[in-house]
Each structure stands twice: as C-alpha cells, then as structure tokens.
C-alpha cells in the first residue's frame, strides 16, 4: 500500500513551456514608449499574422503617436472603422489638443472622454489584461507616452443562430435552444424569468481557453449552501481548457466512478428556467449549447418539459412508460437469457415451443447470441452517428438487413433474440436525457453476464447492488434517489407521476429549503352561485 501512497502525493512539476510568457507578463506593466509596447506584443504573440496593428497620429499641431491592435476575425471591423479610427483620426485631428492639454496623464482621460464613441471601455495597465482583452476580440488602443491603454469591447464573431433543439426536441413547448454563445444563452433564460432575484456570477475557467463560466440561481429560492458548494467546486478546477460543459461536469460531479449522471445537462432554456425556479443552480459554459443544472436527481432524467405542458394524465402515463422502458432497456436481454438458459419452466408452454423452434440450429449459446447482437447494434448506432451524412442510408440498409433478416434466415441468431434486442435498443432511446441512456447501455452488458452465469439469481443480486449504488449517490448534497429514497411523501407529486398543477404547491423539499411555497392557484371550477 505504501507504494500507492507515495505515488499519490507526487506532483508533476511544470516543465519549461510556452506558458512561461504568460507567467512572465502577469506582472509586467505597460511601458511608456509605444514602440517598446508594440515590440513586446509582437514578441509575445510570435508575430502571428492575424494580429492587426495600425499606427497613426492624432491632433493638430502637436501630434501624438497612437496605435490600435486587434485580432482579425474576432473583432467587429466596421465598429473599429466607425467608432475608433474615424473619431480618433478625423475628429480629434480637428481638435486643438494643445489648448486642451499639454501632456501627461490628462491626455489619456481627455481622449477617453472626448474621442471614443464606444460604451464598453476598460483601462489597461499591465500586459496580462492587455492580452486577455486582445484575445477576447477587443481593440487595444495604445498612446505613445502613456503607460496605460484602453480596451474597447467590440468583439464579434460568427455564430450559430438560436435554432430548434437537436437532442431534446418536444412537440408542444418552446422550440428555441441554446447556441454556443454564453451571453445569448443567459439572455434566453433572462427573457423567461424577469425577476431581480435571478442572480448571475461569471468567471473564467481554463488556463489557456479562459472560457466564461456563469453560475445562475434564484436568490432566495436556491439553497445558499449549495450555491457556495458550486462556487467552491468551480474554484477548485485547474485545467488547460474547457471546450464543453462536460469538461466542467466531470470535474464537479459527485460519484466520480458511477456510470449514472449526477449533473443534468440540457439545451433547452425552458428546462433551465424551470430548474432555477425549483431552486436548482444553472452553470452556463461558453461555447456549448449544453448547459448544466445541479443538483440532479434520478427522477429528473425521466422528466421532459412536455410532461408539464400537457395535461397531467398524459404526463404521468408517459412518465410511467419511461420507467418501464428503463427496466426494459436494462433487463430485457438478461431476462431473456435467464429464461431460456436456466428457467425454461417459467416460460408458458406454447411460447417455449415457439422459442425452442427458433433456436433449432442456432450455433451459439443465448448469451453469445445476445452479446453479438447487442454489439452489432452498438456498432451500427455508433457508425450512424459518426459517418458522413451522405452515406447514412447505405449503412442503415446494410445494418437492418444484416440484423433483421439475413442473420435469422442464415440461422445465426434466433428471431426471438432479434425482437428482444430491438425492443431493448429502442427502449434505451426513450429517456429524455441521453446520459441516462448511456448509463443503462453500459450496465446492461453486466446484467447479461450475470444472467448468463447465474440466471435470475444473478439478476436479483445485480439489481440489489444497483439499488444500493443508486441510493449511495448524492448530487451536491441531495440524495440521488430522493424523493423515492429517502421517501418524501410531499414530493411524490412530481416523481413517478406528475400531479395536476394546482397540487404542486410546494417546491421540491431537499433542493429548496427556504422558500418552499410555490403557488396557490386553486383547482379550476365553474362559477359558484354565491360568488359574483
């Protein structure tokens, strides 16, 4: 054991790499000489060709050397033209600078107040800030003789329009989905909750990517301790890059080794809004349409926004169907294996005869048959996702022919097994959230192995282990299986069933502990005679 311990405490030392420059310019202040500053910037960026610099002179009589620096493609060039260069070069040129100021620090303020017609201006005094702004797409404005500069927020780049959700589509309900811009995404949620209690904290994560990550919650509804916990966990993150919410999710989630998702992700603003109003905390990550929601509970992965937009009967029944599909996707092949290889006495006689007839001449044991089919299906599914779109139909035709007909006709697999595998795979698409489907797909193979070696006994032991595991999970302090375990009677209104809206007067108890009351609308009813 000592060996492992030693290994654990050893830290990797950071080797000399390109981060050195970054470390160095953290403390470097801007120089007074423009030429020196320009040199420094060029050196640091390695003379990259997409860095655009423009030097010019302003003022009449007394002329002052200036420069703007920006990144091509990240900056709104029209805005630079209209609001930076034009004002500075034409309008300031006509102003008699000599009369207004002489030199020194006043010049900076005069230029800032007089000449630039842009609202988002930041003063920069050190190189760290300079590069931060420059690489975000800001325009850096440097003046000769000044040891500080300005950063104009005119960044603009091409991005996807707000469009329909791709992974989580519904029939009835809002049809807009997040895009890759964090500010657009936040706006989509703000547009839904016009409350001053909707608070937002933004920070940059990732040493290289410096990705914006925002924590959003309803002050007074969300549990302050949970908010603090989210802050702490985000603060602990120390990585190079954040390219997707998944990078953040993996570093802040509970139950690190569990296959089950303990952080909810969605591309739907209405789901985030509903979660916020229940007291959950949203984490937005720049550059991805999939934003996170914590704490995430097991039952949450079986809920769709449509459950709440349709009448409650439909919501409840469909939800039950999803739980049924969960067990089917998890257990159908293993139960089939257990029944046909261990417990033939449990199959009704006519069905047994029919299954036995199908198995005549099938060369593999049921388990091998099932694994073959499942793996084939997984391959087809993966191929369907990865292949270029143009050859999609070809793969699906070959796939269905191979799986569906030829395999049975050739006597490689039994027809019953094809049915079971197809039902299983289709059932695993029922979950509104892709993550839960992934978990089920993985565990299914474990159950198949258990069923093949021990029959129903193995499946039972597996199920017990699964339940124990699920009950031991927590998501940001909230038991994963709540409100089922621990059983919370009041929260059953929105767990297995979805009761009518007027019955949902309180917010989920474990997620929100301060502001429990949600609504008090009475059940709709016809006008009473003694009312007016």
């Amino acid at each position: 054991m000592g060996f492992f311990k030693k290994n654990k405490t050893r830290r990797f030392s950071r080797g000399p790499d390109n981060l050195d420059a970054e470390q160095r310019n953290k403390n470097d202040q801007l120089k007074t000489s423009l030429a020196e500053n320009m040199m420094y910037i060029k050196n640091t960026l390695g003379n990259s060709d997409d860095v655009q610099t423009r030097q010019f002179e302003i003022g009449k009589g007394l002329t002052i050397k200036c420069a703007v620096i920006y990144m091509k493609g990240l900056t709104d060039e029209a805005a630079i033209q209209d609001f930076v260069l034009k004002t500075l070069m034409t309008e300031v040129k006509n102003t008699d600078l000599e009369q207004k100021i002489v030199e020194g620090p006043q010049l900076f303020d005069v230029l800032k107040n007089l000449a630039v017609t842009i609202s988002d201006i930041q003063d920069i005094t050190d190189y760290q800030k300079l590069f931060e702004g420059l690489l975000l797409g800001n325009v850096i404005y440097l003046i000769d003789g000044q040891d500080k500069g300005m950063s104009f927020g005119v960044n603009k780049w091409d991005e996807r329009q707000v469009s329909e959700p791709i992974a989580q589509s519904i029939v009835r309900g809002p049809q807009d989905a997040f895009n890759e811009n964090i500010l657009t995404n936040i706006a989509l949620v703000r547009r839904r909750i016009k409350s001053p209690a909707l608070w937002l904290e933004m920070k940059k994560i990732g040493k290289l990517t410096k990705t914006s990550v925002a924590v959003m919650y309803m002050k007074g509804i969300a549990n302050d301790k949970t908010v603090e916990e989210v802050r702490q966990r985000l603060k602990r993150i120390d990585i190079d890059g954040v390219l997707e919410g998944g990078n953040i999710e993996e570093l802040i989630r509970d139950g690190g080794k569990s296959p089950f998702p303990t952080v909810f992700n969605t591309e739907r603003p209405d789901v985030i809004a509903a979660g916020l109003m229940e007291g959950r905390i949203a984490i937005f990550v720049d550059g991805t349409p999939f934003n996170l929601l914590v704490p995430a509970l097991f039952v949450q992965f079986f809920q769709t926004p449509e459950d709440y937009y349709n009448r409650s009967y439909m919501g409840s029944l469909i939800r039950l169907l999803r739980y049924g599909a969960f067990f089917m996707a998890l257990l159908a092949p293993s139960i089939y294996i257990a029944l046909t290889t261990f417990h033939q006495e449990m199959i009704p006689t006519p069905l047994l005869l029919s299954l036995a007839a199908q198995r005549e001449g099938v060369p593999f044991p049921a388990f091998v048959e099932a694994v073959l089919m499942e793996v084939t299906f997984e391959i087809i599914r993966e191929a369907g996702l990865r292949m270029p779109r143009a050859i999609g139909p070809a793969v699906s035709i070959v796939g269905t022919l191979v799986i569906g007909t030829s395999a049975v006709d050739a006597g490689m697999v039994s027809a019953g097994m094809v049915i079971v595998v197809s039902i299983t795979e289709i059932a695993s698409f029922v979950f509104p959230n892709y993550e839960m489907g992934i978990a089920v797909r993985m565990i299914r193979f474990l159950f198949m192995a258990l069923a093949a070696s021990f029959g129903f006994f193995g499946i039972s032991v597996g199920l017990i282990a699964l339940v124990l595991h699920l009950c031991s999970l927590r998501s940001f302090g909230v038991p994963y299986m709540s409100p089922l375990a621990p059983f919370i009677p009041a929260d059953q209104k929105d767990a297995l069933f979805r009761l009518p809206k007027w019955k949902m007067s309180s917010r989920p108890r474990l997620i929100n502990q301060e502001n429990v009351e949600r609504e008090q609308t009475p059940q709709p009813r016809p006008p009473q005679p003694n009312e007016n």
Binding site: T340, T341, F342, Q344, E345, T349, L352, L353, S354, L355, A356, A357, Q358, R359, E360, G361, V362, P365, A366, A415, A452, S453, F454, G455, F457, G458, V461, A465
Partner: protein
C-alpha cells in the same frame, strides 16, 4: 479500494455457492417432454416419453418439413429414474419434463399399485406437479402416447385440453393433478379416483402421420371413465352415469349439461352454471349417517317436449326434475361403489373425521366396512335462472 475488492470477491463467492438448483442448458439442448407414460413389464418399468419436435409445432414460416410433431422414446429399467435417463441412449437430448402436461399410467401397473412410481415425479425439482394423472383404460400407456392427433399437434396437449374443456363445459369428467392425487393417497377416509384415457379405433393405425391426414382418423384418444382405487391399487371403472354421480358428490362439477324428463313426455336439457355439493355426517347412537346436499343453478338449454316455459309452474317442474335426477345420479354412484368395490371413494370418512373426530378414531380402522352399511341421504336444490333467447319452443306451435 481494498474494501471494494473484498466486497466484489464476497459477492462472487456468494453467487457461486448459494445458487440452488440451477443448471445452464440451452433451449436446443432440451427434449421437451409433454407426456410421460409408465407401464410395467415383469419387474421393470417401461417409461415412454412423448417429446416435442419444436420445429414442427411452432407456427414458424417454412420451418415444418412434414415430420411428426412428436417423437416417443422408450426405455426399460428397474426404477423410473434409471429408465428416464436411459432414454438418452436413444435421444440426442436430455428429457426435460418441466412442461409435462399428462402422466399416463398403464392399467396393468395401476392394478399393481401406482404409489411407488409417483415418488420420483413429486421429488424431482424439474417437475411442476400440476400435470394431470390419467390411467390408460384397458391398455398400455405407450399405446395412448403413440397416437398422432390433429387440431392439437401434440397428443399430450390434446388430452390435456380435452380434459380441461370437457370439465369446463360438459361435466362428468374428473381431473386430478399429481399433488392432489398424492394428498388424497395419504388422506384417511377418502380413496383416490383417477380419470381414464382410452384409444378408440385401431391402435396400430394410430402412429403413422396418415392418421392426421384423415377427417375421421382411424385412431383417436378420448378421456373416458373414472378409475376407482383402493389405496394405490386400481379396483375398477365407473360407468358413465356413476361417474356423473361421482363428480357431483365430490363437488368436482363446475359446469355441465343435465337432461330431465318433461311432465308430458319428452326431454329437456339444462345447463348447470353453478354447482356446489356439501357432505355432512352425523353419528346417531354410535352409527354414522351421511347427508349429501347438492345445490345447483342453471339455464334451460334445450326443450324437446311440450311445456309452457312462460309459466312459473313449468320452471318449477323442470327444477324438480333436475333435483330428482341429481339425487338419482348420486345414489346410483354411491350404490355402485358400495356394492362393487366396498370402499369410500367419496370422502365420507373425511367428513366424519371432521365432524366427529372422537368417533373417527375408533371407526378409522374398518371404515370401509362401516361405509358400506352407512345410510346416505341425498337432497338436491336447483334453481333455473334463464330460459335462453326464446321463450316457448317452436315445437309448441308446430302442434297446431
């Protein structure tokens, strides 16, 4: 880390050691036996297993190639267990009897005693004990199992469903599963009875597939008669009327048809839809006395006589007729059993045991003798509920 490894090892250890009667076997390694027949040859048992050929039975397109839907395997040995296992000398697959539908016992073996041959069948974990036990009337069990049948491709299934259905809609058949039979065998005060099965027609014509190619097969199997046992030995067969009485007395009748003579001649048939029979006993002056109460409900099913069904009196007349017929049937069957076999097949002894345990203790030893002289009073009550979709029969109108 250490803990999870230990717990995983424990789980696997438990899985390996705590599994009960498990045995991995693929479906195509099984010979699914639907019927088993047991005969005696000298001091050896002859076991006949009727095994399904699944490819021929299942409704799968193109799978059937015209072979027989079942195969019978036979083996002879000192014990039944040995004989069943000996079958594998001939059969490529092990006999799997969880789905056993019928157990047919040859009459010769039944006369010698069936007790010993039932032990394996109730002891082995593979058998479900909910199959029907039958006696091949006047023939060998193997003869009954060697017939091909149409409609139900599997002969054992055919016998099974014939018994089920006739019990449900006709009446005077008697079904008994293995566990019922064993519990009767060990009960004092009731002797077992088992339904019979018989091959009609030419038994040598029964096996070929030609048999099922005909609309009127040369050989048919039929559920017929009730075998009366003393302990585990067959004593004789009840005739049709006596079996009907037997079924009524032992409260085995659920539904059935019963005919009645009309007051002015002719006959009418009544469908019994609900029947209940109770046996009560009394001991008066040290002498037992039994009462059989039959209560039935029914509908008029067929009228072949002149009777005005619109009048309540005629309904009452019919009811009285059925009641009389019930009493008759019960009395006939009790009389026949008393006279011919001198044993209590009806369970009167059980009723005495229940009502007069003190008396039973003394009488138990020679109960069969006491039973023969015990007076049995029969009372029947019948209610006719409906007369069908027409009122009076059109025969009534044809008269004019």
């Amino acid at each position: 880390m250490k803990r999870s490894v230990i717990s995983c090892a424990l789980i696997i250890f438990c899985l390996m050691t705590m599994t009960g009667c498990w045995d991995r076997k693929e479906l195509n390694e099984l010979a699914i036996a639907m019927g088993i027949g047991i005969d005696k040859d000298g001091d050896q048992y002859v076991v006949t297993a009727q095994v399904v050929n699944p490819g021929e039975v299942a409704a799968q397109k193109g799978a059937a190639v015209g072979r027989a839907p079942v195969i019978t395997f036979q083996a002879k040995d000192k014990t039944i267990y040995e004989a069943i296992r000996k079958i594998t000398k001939e059969s490529p697959r092990k006999i799997y009897s969880s789905h056993l539908r019928v157990l047919v016992i040859g009459e010769d073996l039944a006369r010698e005693g069936i007790g010993r041959s039932l032990d394996l069948l109730s002891r082995n974990q593979e058998l479900r004990t909910d199959f029907y036990v039958m006696i091949a009337k006047g023939m060998k069990a193997s003869d009954v199992l060697n017939v091909t049948t149409s409609l139900e491709k599997i002969p054992s299934n055919k016998i099974f469903y014939a018994l089920e259905t006739s019990d449900k809609v006709y009446g005077p058949t008697y079904k008994e599963t293995l566990d019922d039979l064993i519990s009767t065998l060990v009960t004092h005060g009731k002797q077992p009875a088992i339904t019979g099965v018989v091959l009609k027609g030419n038994e040598h014509e029964g096996a070929p597939m030609d048999n099922v190619a005909k609309t009127d097969p040369d050989a048919r199997i039929k559920v017929d008669g009730i075998a009366i046992f003393k302990k585990d030995k067959l004593k004789g067969w009840l005739k049709e009327a006596a079996s009907a009485g037997y079924v009524i007395t032992t409260d085995q009748l659920s539904k059935g048809i019963m005919h009645v003579k009309c007051p002015k001649g002719g006959k009418a048939a009544v469908e019994i839809i609900n029947a209940k029979t109770k046996i009560k006993t009394k001991v008066v002056n040290g002498q037992p006395e039994a009462f059989v109460y039959v209560r039935q409900e029914g509908n008029v099913g067929e009228v072949e006589c002149h009777i005005d069904l619109t009048k309540p009196e005629s309904i009452t007349q019919l009811e009285k007729g059925i009641e009389k017929r019930n009493v008759e049937l019960v009395k006939t069957s009790i009389k026949e059993v008393k006279r011919k076999y001198k044993i209590d097949s009806f369970g009167f002894g059980e009723a005495v045991h229940r009502s007069n345990p003190e008396y039973w203790k003394k009488a138990q030893k020679n109960w069969d003798k006491i039973f023969v002289h015990m007076p049995v009073h029969v009372k029947a009550e019948m209610k006719i509920r409906r007369v069908g979709t027409i009122g009076n029969s059109f025969i009534e109108e044809m008269k004019e």
